[in-house]
């Protein structure tokens, strides 16, 4: 089971955080800070795994963004890399060649996509098509509530 996923930039700015285990805010911040600094200090050629407390950290860099997951001892690290990759593919499909700015300005969408891929830290859907279909349908639902021209001013904007 995945314990959390963090997205952060090369400058160490947090872009997304998804926690599947209950921690106090203080603890979350500490873990985030420690992992960001450890991972940023590692050289590009090094392997994608770290041991951190009881969990295994799996991370991968895509352009300027680091995707970092904590999984349990029994979990398959290589599969975690595939999950990260699947998430990146989904973001890419949804935003159309995604970049860091897309995730900064539409972070809520990035969360929604992740929530259609994983529930409770486990994969719920292995078909990309199904995930994107579910997201699109919910976006439509959201737009239906908002009449034309109204969204810009009254939606999230």
């Amino acid at each position: 089971m995945m314990q959390f996923m963090l997205l952060f930039s090369r400058q160490g700015k947090l872009r997304l955080q998804k926690w599947y285990v209950a921690h106090q805010d203080k603890v979350k911040k500490k873990i985030t800070r420690e992992l960001i600094s450890t991972i940023l200090a590692r050289k590009p050629k090094m392997c994608s795994f770290l041991e951190y407390k009881e969990s295994k950290i799996v991370y991968k860099r895509y352009a300027s963004l680091y995707f970092c997951c904590a999984v349990e001892q029994e979990d398959n690290e290589l599969l975690t890399l595939e999950i990260i990759h699947r998430y990146v593919e989904l973001l890419d499909k949804y935003f159309g060649s995604v970049c860091e700015l897309d995730i900064i300005f539409n972070f809520e969408k990035a969360y929604f996509i992740l929530d259609e891929l994983l529930v409770g830290g486990e994969i719920q859907e292995t078909s990309k098509k199904n995930v994107l279909k579910a997201i699109a349908a919910q976006d439509v639902l959201q737009e239906d509530e908002t009449p034309q021209g109204f969204f810009e001013d009254h939606g999230l904007g």
Binding site: Q24, D25, E77, L79, E108, Q138, D144, G155, L156
Partner: protein
């Protein structure tokens, strides 16, 4: 998918129209339209300094708070979304929690979507809010819109607390049977999370798992396998229950690998690797220790292992999981060979990740099939040079697992090279492992001694104390010619460097012990200049006054120098001068040694020879294989070998040697038995208990010392021993001799250990040390709150009661206050407690000291315990009258 949308468009338009009207009204009457989310993000990103950013955030937060106060429902969604961004930047956003709940309760899908997102981001497991959200979830789980149900399920999966799990398990069970795959797969994972949080809820979900594996939908299959895996790991009964699904799993897996290309689930030519891995893992659990189940999966595992394409990460992912399964179940020999070969290929892979996996897995398999792993030894040793610390760590563990009697010479050579260049964090662990390996497999004594010396040189000040002690022990038990040989080597080694403390300590110990052998044996060869009495004494003089040498090393040196005075022919006066100077040293331990040894040059000169005779060989009885407790025991040995110098030969002590007895720390009691010699294992006569106490303290004090002696430079490390030696006359009980003389003296449960621990414990002021053998009673046990007392008498002075409260409930107890009252015939002194908040499973301890005013009074105690649980103040009272006799 949105055909079954439950939103009535008409109603929707009405709400919106109303919203618009409200907005217009507000725009004119009250407040301006709030900043849009993306404008806020732009503003924050435009901030050039931290202070500027903070200003923007504070301004916006203040505004958002004001809209919350105004109960502004039109912009709530947008404001909350802004709050998420602010929260991600690390600013507090908890004030948005309740607003998230209001969003969730809204009929609009946009509001719900953002509201549930907020619930996942902002809510901790705080009780009050959680109760509210449970109600919202319950409503939405029954919503006619699948996406609303989906949001609720997703939220539950992420933040399910035990209470929530209990409250909603029934709902989830219903949804697990939903015909809608979108809802069903999410419900299955919620069930998984519920079982994680509250394992006893598993029963509810068992019937619903029956049909899961017959589905075609991969979402349901993968979530189903995940749920079943969790259930199997949960209880052996369930595991047996699911044995019958092995053929189903095999069939699904077979279909996956044999089916042609399916674009929907393909990942670089592999069909649904996510599902394959999950199935392989479940097979592993089902096949473990079960020959029949293992037999049923042999074929498919072989197929997966041979047919999987390995040019990409995804193929290796599946192979990795397959190898783990093959090694864990009762698989055929051929299959195991196949698996180890796969790992061998992994080890040669260019991809660092795959190499890491290989090392990681080989370490797991090393116990199963060591010869297969041995074949890859050279590659593994190569990995020791990898620049990546994660890989080096795995490689070093694996390398030590591979050492055996045949390859020890070659392996040790490689490992020493590694040790020399290793990072400090590795040096400690690696040197201790080297010592253990050498001990187990050394081909000759000389090789063993040479290796120990090399370890001390290579690891420098990073070695743990067990290395020093086992080296001394090894030398002590070697034949005389080897002792001379290694002493010469150590002499040479410390000519070059003196800032390597462990090396220095062993070297001076050797020189003190075998100094005569190296001084007067004309056949010895030295790489450097041949030592003479004066060069040796000069060196000691230098060491003893050097700033680079730490106190422990100086202690070693001083004892060594005293011993040397009986080994050399001339030079005694020089030694005496040096030792006398320490009589006024600032460090109390060194000063004490100085004063004590000076006595041996003055009035008690006649005793010096016999007191400082050569030590008998220390027997190596190392039961401990693991280096974790080896560390502790190792320290005991150091202290023993070091301080027993003073007491080896007290058989010669005559009854009128008061001062000398002072030296030995026995205070005013005089030993009457003059025929007494210290045996290493036979019980000594009880009459000599003072002396035994002394020794007992040394031995048994050792584990206590390790508390603060992790650092070689810790000056205070040896002081407690000194104290216990000096204060020893407090010990009146007849000690348990066998425990004391056991070189591995455990922390002991006898009276002796107890007493000596008090002496040390006070000194270290660590309350945890006090209760090693105290009597423990449970005084309160109600509503999962257990209070125990550990009582013990402290030197006739007072009774010490260590209160320890354990919270076995699932709730956090705050403002915990423990009060106690005793009858007038007693005095009660309460120390401060270790805390006031009891997390679930948490412990608070508090020390109390009870002094008795009249000897005949019986101790009773009234207790008052108050705390706040879930916001409710709770007060409990209890009375304790069954204090044990201490």
């Amino acid at each position: 998918m949105n055909t079954d949308s439950g939103f009535n468009p008409g109603l929707n338009m009405a709400t919106i129209r109303q919203a618009i009207n409200e907005t217009i009204e507000r725009g004119i009457m009250r407040m301006p339209t709030p900043t849009r989310l993306r404008d806020l993000i732009r503003q924050i990103r435009a901030a050039k300094t931290q202070a500027e950013e903070r200003a923007v955030v504070n301004r916006e937060c203040a505004y958002i708070r004001s809209t919350f106060r105004e109960e502004d429902s039109v912009w709530r969604c947008r404001n909350i979304a802004k709050l998420f961004y602010i929260h991600m930047l690390g600013y507090p956003a908890h004030f948005g929690q309740l607003e998230c709940l209001k969003l969730i309760a809204s009929p609009k899908f946009t509001d719900k979507r953002i509201g549930y997102l907020g619930a996942m981001l902002l809510l901790d497991e705080r009780q009050d809010v959680h109760l509210l959200i449970t109600n919202c979830l319950k409503n939405d789980l029954n919503s006619p819109t699948q996406f609303v149900v989906g949001l609720a399920l997703c939220t539950l999966g992420a933040i399910a607390s035990p209470e929530m799990a209990r409250d909603l398990a029934g709902e989830i069970e219903k949804l697990m049977k939903s015909p809608n795959a979108y809802i069903r797969k999410k419900a299955i994972l919620c069930a998984f999370r519920i079982i994680r949080r509250v394992p006893e809820l598993m029963e509810i979900f068992l019937p619903a798992t029956r049909s899961l594996l017959n589905e075609k939908n991969h979402g349901i299959l993968i979530t189903g396998v995940t749920l079943i895996t969790e259930m199997c790991e949960n209880s052996p009964d369930t595991l047996n229950h699911f044995k019958k699904i092995v053929p189903n799993l095999v069939r699904i897996l077979k279909n996956l690998i044999l089916a042609g290309y399916s674009p929907e689930h393909d990942v670089s030519g592999v069909s649904d690797p996510f599902l394959q891995v999950k199935i392989l893992r479940l097979l592993r659990i089902l096949g473990r220790n079960d020959p029949e189940a293992s037999e049923a999966m042999n074929d498919i595992l072989a197929q997966v292992a041979t047919n999987t394409e390995t040019s990409k990460n995804v193929g290796n992912t599946i192979l990795y999981e397959t190898v783990l399964t093959i090694m864990d179940i009762k698989s055929e020999g051929g299959l195991r060979v196949l698996a180890v070969n796969i790992l061998g290929r992994f080890l040669l892979n260019n991809d660092k990740n795959i190499r890491y996996i290989a090392l990681h897995t080989l370490l797991k398999t090393v116990n199963v099939d060591i010869s297969a792993v041995q074949r890859h030894r050279s590659t593994i040793l190569e990995c020791l040079k990898d620049p990546d610390v994660t890989i080096r760590k795995r490689a070093i563990e694996l390398s030590f697992a591979l050492v055996n009697a045949q390859n020890i010479r070659a392996m040790a050579k490689e490992l020493l090279i590694f040790l020399e260049k290793a990072d400090p964090e590795f040096k400690a662990q690696c040197s201790s492992s080297m010592v253990l390996s050498a001990e187990r497999y050394a081909p000759t004594i000389r090789w063993h001694l040479d290796t120990l010396l090399s370890v001390l040189i290579a690891a420098g000040n990073y070695v743990r104390d067990d290395v020093t002690s086992s080296t001394i022990q090894m030398i002590s038990s070697s034949p005389a010619n080897e002792q001379t040989y290694i002493t010469v080597k150590f002499w040479d080694a410390i000519q070059e460097t003196q800032d390597n403390q462990p090396l220095l300590q062993v070297a001076v110990w050797c020189i003190g012990e075998y100094g005569d052998q190296i001084l007067y044996d004309s056949e010895l060869e030295f790489t450097n200049e041949r030592p003479t009495e004066s060069t040796i004494i000069d060196l000691y003089n230098k060491l003893l006054w050097s700033n680079q040498v730490n106190t422990v090393s100086k202690q070693y040196s001083l004892v060594s120098l005293a011993k040397l005075s009986t080994r050399i022919k001339n030079g005694q006066n020089n030694i005496k001068e040096i030792i006398e100077m320490f009589g006024s040293h600032l460090n109390i331990d060194l000063q004490q040694r100085g004063v004590e040894f000076t006595q041996l040059f003055g009035p008690y000169k006649h005793l010096r020879e016999s007191l400082l005779e050569k030590m008998p060989a220390m027997t190596i009885n190392r039961i401990n294989g693991a280096n974790s407790n080896g560390e502790m025991i190792g320290e005991g040995e150091v202290i023993r070998s070091n301080s027993s110098d003073k007491v080896v030969n007290n058989g010669n002590i005559r009854s009128n040697t008061d001062t000398l007895l002072d030296l030995l720390g026995s205070g005013d009691d005089i030993i009457s038995s003059s025929s007494f010699t210290i045996p290493t294992s036979t019980p000594a006569p009880a009459a000599t208990n003072n002396l035994l106490d002394l020794l007992g303290d040394i031995d048994l004090g050792a584990p206590t010392i390790s508390v603060n002696n992790n650092n070689n430079n810790n000056n205070s490390a040896t002081s407690p021993i000194t104290m216990s030696i000096l204060d020893d006359n407090e010990n009146t009980k007849i000690p348990d001799v066998t425990t004391m003389f056991n070189i591995n003296g455990s922390s002991g449960g006898n009276a002796q250990a107890n007493n000596s621990n008090y002496d040390l414990g006070d000194f270290l002021s660590s309350p945890t040390l006090h209760n090693t053998s105290a009597k423990i009673i449970t005084v309160f046990d109600k509503n999962d709150l257990v209070i125990t007392f550990a009582t013990s008498r402290h030197n006739d002075d007072y009774i010490e009661v260590l209160m320890s409260t354990t919270n076995n409930s699932m709730d956090t107890l705050e403002q915990y206050l423990f009060q106690a009252a005793v009858p007038k015939s007693f005095q009660l002194q309460m120390m401060s407690p270790t805390g006031s908040v009891l997390l679930p499973g948490g412990v608070i301890t508090q020390e109390m000291r009870v002094r008795s005013n009249s000897p005949s009074a019986v101790l009773r105690m009234k207790l008052r315990i108050s705390f706040v649980c879930n916001g409710n103040p709770i007060l409990e009272q209890a009375e304790v009258s069954n204090f044990p006799d201490v």
